[in-house]
């Protein structure tokens, strides 16, 4: 029982990471209908901004966190403005966008290797060192922060998407871009806002996995891929689907590692992805027929 509770908690913590990142894939897919593989590089970017803010000791952790989130949002917005928008305006097929997004990831990772540092960094200690121990179940402080932070962000996002006019306009652009423009919605600006939010959320995930493990130039790679799997498992385009997919993969992965074998831990997300694509191609909460991605 104690073991199971521990696994469930671990699953919730890592699932929060996947959910935070998956929602970015889903939001961007919603408005632009392509998988933005550059999204994983935002995770890395965010972790580095926070890391160097802390290393240079210019600001306390909460400020570093906030700064990184805002800068990551802006960075994500800039990738769209500079890499994707010019292509879209030339009427390039979506495949070109997808390939470009992979290019952006390579560019960011290698830029970090060349201009920052190729090394693994341990995140400076900002949280109390002793985990909370409740009758044998261990809650590391970084996990608590991860679960709390991601919950707050997800609630805020749900409020924003479902209760504000700007949120409604994102849905409108996702459903029918031309019709949205005819409502007076500035489509370009709405797409920028979407990228900003996606970047903001990915950054929180990047910082916290950086703190949990370490910060390195390919930090975003595997987390990004698993989160992408989570967004498709949940139904790409669906925000609740991204959360569901993220937590589902988090739980299955830790339970699988705990009770079966930790050798296959990283494969679980992709096995689930294949199964979902076979039996419910539009994803668990996806609607109707999805276009091929």
């Amino acid at each position: 029982m104690r073991e199971l509770l521990q696994q469930l908690w671990n699953g919730l913590a890592i699932g929060s990471v996947y959910a935070l990142v998956a929602v970015g894939y889903t939001l961007v897919f919603g408005v632009l209908k392509f998988i933005n593989f550059a999204h994983s590089s935002i995770l890395t970017f965010g972790a580095y901004v926070a890391l160097y803010t802390m290393l240079s000791k210019v600001a306390p952790f909460p400020v570093a966190l906030g700064l990184s989130m805002v800068l990551s949002g802006v960075f994500a917005m800039q990738t769209e403005l500079r890499a994707f928008r010019p292509l879209r305006e030339k009427g390039a097929p979506r495949l070109n966008l997808l390939i470009t997004s992979i290019g952006v990831t390579l560019l960011v990772e290698n830029a970090i290797v060349v201009f920052v540092s190729p090394d693994f960094h341990v995140f400076p200690k900002v949280l109390p060192g002793t985990p909370i121990n409740l009758s044998g179940v261990v809650f590391p402080p970084v996990d608590l922060l991860l679960v709390a932070g991601s919950s707050i962000l997800m609630l805020a996002l749900s409020y924003f998407v479902n209760r504000t006019l700007t949120g409604l306009s994102i849905k409108a652009v996702a459903l029918d871009r031309d019709a949205a423009a005819l409502m007076g919605i500035n489509v370009g600006r709405t797409i920028s806002i979407t990228f900003f939010i996606a970047g903001l959320m990915a950054s929180m995930a990047g910082i916290l996995v950086g703190m949990k493990f370490s910060v390195n130039p390919s930090l975003g790679g595997l987390f990004g891929l698993k989160s992408f799997a989570a967004s498709v498992v949940g139904g790409i385009g669906s925000v609740p689907g991204a959360y569901l997919g993220g937590y589902l993969i988090g739980f299955l992965e830790t339970l699988g590692a705990g009770y079966v074998s930790s050798n296959y831990k990283d494969a679980i997300a992709f096995v689930l992805l294949v199964l979902v694509l076979l039996f419910k191609p539009s994803g668990l909460l996806g609607k109707g027929t999805q276009e091929k991605v």
């Binding site: 029918d176 031309d178 019709a179 007076g184 609607k287």
Partner: protein, 233 residues
Amino acid sequence: MLKIEDLNVYYGGIHALNSVSVDVNDGEIVTIIGANGAGKSTLLRTISGLVRARSGTVSFNGKDLGKMPPHEIVALGIAHAPEGRRVFSELTVAQNLRLGAFLRTDKEQMEQDLERVFRIFERLRERREQPAGTLSGGEQQMLCIGRALMSKPKLLLLDEPSMGLAPVLVQEIYKEIEEIRKYTTILLVEQNAYQALKTADRGYVLETGRIVMAAPCSELIRDPVIKKAYLGK
């Protein structure tokens, strides 16, 4: 208020509009009739900024719309109820109508306009919390027009409001267009030439991208050529 001069629009090699000139004056209903593929929707989409002209001008109350993005054109007071309704199917009727008023901030006046839309299209009132995708075709058309009205337009562009509707619904929609004209200038595009000519003040006939005739509707409706080609008589 709307002045279109010598407009040329291409899709790749297809010359969709060929030196088209159209005027719409304040308070009028002007109609453009034409067969499938004549270029009617292209004309409305060019006015709205969704399609760019290669040459020619579109101006609205003296302002050149040629380089404006669609959202700025809406802000000037042009609303477009597009072909095929294009309602946001997963959003509710109320959310669709709210999006129609996207640029507005005058909450009280918006409430009154919403009430007016519900008075014109009573069926929408009881369905306000229903996803637009679950409405019938006629109701979606009403929502499409109602949504356009929510921006409080000076000029309303209507693209085939009768498309795919049973005759009694066509009658109903046109009855409401008569109501709407009391406060909005209308540019109406139709394949249903009879309805359009009966309702509008002036008409243009568009054939494969060219305006071939322009006259008051009372004349067009009696014209032997029009009768034969468009009214099936």
